[in-house]
């Protein structure tokens, strides 16, 4: 199963190695990792996606907390959250194919950010399935994809939660292993952007 963790870590040299080394030791492959600055100064936010057995979530989280540089960990896969990925896709074009690629780009609410003789570059933001969808259709049209660069998943939990709320939720989880229902404020809202074309 796919686990998604958000980890707040100290912005110091070697921290990425420590986190990566932990997954290596557990023999778990990291499918994607994104790191950047967070709302707290000196603290980076990491989103880690990894394939591991369902029961491994607790152990990974506990092991992350054992790292001195890790400040807070959230197993967001278990909660209602917004997940986004950014991709840049360079596609080979001819004067004939250009217009239908523009149509596809519009349907996917993507943008063309570079246009050159023989190729163009698409910027697309969305869930992974949306990006996969665009790539599939491009392939179906036999448009040659020259380059793909994807950021990997970024995730943020829905609604407003403070660390105190997190702590309270954490209490319940660690005791009986169940996931609490999201409160009303955390209810899922329909998201037009996540609809698969």
């Amino acid at each position: 199963m796919q686990h998604t963790f958000v980890a707040y870590v100290e912005d110091k040299p070697g921290v990425l190695t420590r986190v990566a080394s932990l997954f290596r030791r557990l023999n778990i492959n990291i499918s994607s990792v994104t790191v950047g600055s967070s709302e707290r100064s000196g603290i980076s936010r990491m989103t880690l996606v990894a394939d591991a057995p369902p029961a491994a979530g607790h152990r990974i989280m506990a092991s992350l907390y054992k790292l001195e540089n890790v400040v807070q960990v959230d197993d967001v896969g278990r909660f209602s959250s917004v997940s986004r990925e950014l991709a840049l896709i360079k596609v080979a074009t001819t004067p004939k194919t250009r217009s239908h690629i523009f149509e596809l780009v519009n349907v996917f609410r993507a943008r063309v950010v570079d246009l050159a003789p023989g190729s163009l570059m698409i910027e697309i933001t969305g869930s992974e399935s949306k990006i996969e969808g665009l790539l599939q259709v491009l392939n179906e049209n036999e448009d040659r994809v020259l380059e793909i660069s994807r950021t990997g998943r970024m995730v943020m939990r829905r609604g407003h939660h403070t660390s105190r709320v997190l702590e309270a939720l954490g209490d319940v989880e660690s005791q009986n292993g169940t996931v609490p229902e999201p409160s009303l404020a955390l209810q899922e809202e329909p998201d037009e952007f996540e609809q698969k074309p």
Binding site: T17, H58, M61, A62, Y65, G170, D171, S174, Q175
Partner: protein
């Protein structure tokens, strides 16, 4: 001069190093000088810290480790960059696997040449990343006090462990303001996974109340947490028998009527049977290591489990538990004990007692004397001679298991042994650390002829430091545990198991250490008495039966109750007159 000015003094990085160690309460360090750490050694004379010069950096860490295990204080080892640092790795991993608070300090090449393959440069923080609890590189004198104070906090807090601080040569030479108080280490927030909900306590109490065949599994965490009294109160009030892990020996008095002895691969047969029969296991500061569970699929099939541990990552790692209580053991038990009512455990205790009979018949101690000298006899006699009050450092192998079976530990911190990593060569340096930490205690090394040769140059350290340590070499001419496995699982193909040793008596004498050899049972007590009476180190070379086997034994992958037992008609242990 105001008090404020007094605290803020300008020192070199080297001086800050020692001043911080001194203020952290360090009185002794174990180390070996070298180029990149020489500025620190140059400043040492200004500080009231005793430096014990070792013969190999691995031993320096084992000494710091033995020091920490014997005293509960943080042990400190120091070495230079490159080979000095890499030599430490085995010692660090040993401390990591057994959760021992050790701070290792290494010199490093100057910060300007970091990463250039300079002479004696090695990326020691990279190398030790998976075997330290945390590590630091310090390139500026002003960062040194903070990093060191962090290192001490990390080493001793939570589940303890080794921490390495790598200090560049220029950071030792530069000057900075030193303010010990300002450099105090602070941890951002508490661990959110550490919590013991009242609900969990009540569930545990209910499980204990309703159990018919409960068992306490006593681990190393009891000693780390200082929860000896709480565990004893739990056992006595609820009349629950106690089984110890190897590192848990001493956490519960061996002579206590509720103490069953050691569990696991070479544990007592009745202990392993009790675990398999139990309907409740209360795991206190232990981690269900593969050496105590046997096959996980068949482990304690009838038992519900309560797991009390400070490390959340240990919960449900090997064995699924019904009630995890994550926190400091003493604090958790302090919360639990007020709810615990006395209960009657006599039927279960009687059932366990009945299981002991068979083991007693097979016990090598109870077999008639056949003129051979057995390791078990030596260790049993040593226990009698020292009234069970000595601090024993053991190596790894057969003698280690016999020690665990036949030396009865009453007190915590009286057995010092490498459990998790199983590091041969550990005993001698660890005993040095223990003796330095506890100079008033009687310290014995029990080592095999194989492991002893791995670190025996430390005899010179003993001689130089004039340490009163007694050494018992259990010499069977084999790498005994290897031979035992080859006998049991490799058709007696004793490949590379016979090992030639020097004459250990002459070896000791070459170091200026008194020594004697013992070949018969009759000589054991008198020679041990001579060693104890002698002021100063004494080595005894016990030439024991060559092909003896540790029983019981659980084959790898077998269930805990499927033990290989000592054959009751073993020609080795029975004389012709008994057949």
């Amino acid at each position: 001069m105001t008090r404020q000015d007094d605290r803020k003094t300008r020192l070199t990085g080297a001086e800050i190093l020692w001043a911080t160690l001194e203020a952290e309460g360090v009185r002794e360090v174990f180390g070996y000088p070298g180029g990149a750490i020489l500025p620190a050694y140059d400043a040492l004379r200004k500080f009231p810290i005793r430096h014990i010069l070792v013969r190999h950096e691995q031993s320096a860490v084992h000494m710091a480790d033995g020091y920490a295990r014997a005293s509960g204080r943080v042990g400190v080892a120091i070495a230079t960059s490159g080979p000095g640092a890499t030599n430490m790795v085995t010692g660090i991993a040993t401390a990591m696997l057994d959760s021992i608070p050790v701070v290792c300090i290494t010199g490093q090449v100057g910060s300007k040449v970091l990463g250039t393959d300079a002479f004696q440069e090695v990326d020691i923080t990279g190398i030790t990343l998976p075997v330290t609890k945390h590590n630091y590189v310090v390139t500026r004198a002003e960062d040194l006090a903070g990093a060191l104070r962090d290192a001490f906090r990390v080493a001793r807090s939570g589940r303890p462990g080794p921490v390495l601080v790598d200090i560049t040569k220029d950071a030792q030479q530069a000057t900075a303001e030193f303010d010990f108080e300002a450099a105090a280490s602070e941890k951002a927030g508490s661990h959110p996974m550490l919590n013991v909900a009242p609900q969990g306590i009540l569930e545990a109490v209910e499980l204990i109340r309703s159990a018919h065949r409960p068992l306490i599994l006593a681990g190393h965490g009891i000693i780390h947490s200082g929860a000896m009294n709480q565990v004893r109160a739990l056992a006595e009030r609820a009349q629950i028998p106690v089984a110890c892990t190897l590192l848990g020996l001493g956490s519960f008095p061996a002579s206590h009527e509720l103490n069953l002895g050691m569990m696991g691969m070479h544990g007592e047969s009745w202990v392993n049977h009790s675990i398999q029969e139990a309907d409740l296991l209360i795991a206190c500061g232990m981690r269900f290591d593969d050496r105590v569970t046997g096959s996980l699929a068949t482990y304690a099939p009838k038992a519900k489990k309560i797991h009390i541990d400070i490390d959340p990552s240990e919960i449900n790692k090997n064995v699924t538990v019904q009630v995890p209580l994550i926190g400091d053991l003493a604090q958790v038990l302090d919360q639990l004990l007020p709810y615990l009512r006395p209960r009657d455990g006599s039927a279960w205790l009687h059932a366990i007692n009945c299981m002991k009979g068979d083991a007693a018949v097979r016990d090598i101690k109870n077999l008639p004397d056949d003129g051979h000298l057995y390791a078990a006899h030596v260790i049993n006699d040593l226990w009698h001679a020292t009234s069970g009050a000595a601090v024993i450092a053991t190596d790894v192998g057969q003698h280690q298991m016999w020690e665990a079976q036949y030396y009865k530990h009453e007190e915590p911190r009286s057995l010092i042994t490498s459990g998790g990593l199983g590091t041969m060569g550990f005993a001698l340096p660890a005993a040095i650390g223990a003796k330095v930490a506890c100079p008033d205690k009687e310290v014995w090394v029990i080592a095999g002829d194989g492991g002893f040769q791995m670190t025996c140059p430390e005899l010179a350290t003993i001689a130089q430091e004039q340490l009163d340590i007694n050494i018992a070499i259990i010499n069977n001419g084999f790498l005994g545990m290897i031979r035992q496995w080859q006998e049991a699982f490799y058709d007696k193909n004793y490949q590379c198991a016979p090992i030639l040793s020097p004459d250990f008596v002459k070896l000791a004498e070459a170091f200026g250490i008194r020594a004697a050899a013992v070949k018969t049972r009759a000589e054991v007590m008198s020679t041990v008495a001579a060693a104890r009476a002698h002021k100063g180190p004494f080595l005894i070379n016990f030439l024991v039966e060559q092909e003896d086997t540790v029983y019981p034994m659980i084959a790898p992958g077998a269930a805990l109750h499927e033990m290989i037992r000592r054959p009751s008609k073993d020609p080795l242990v029975e004389t012709a007159s008994d057949i």
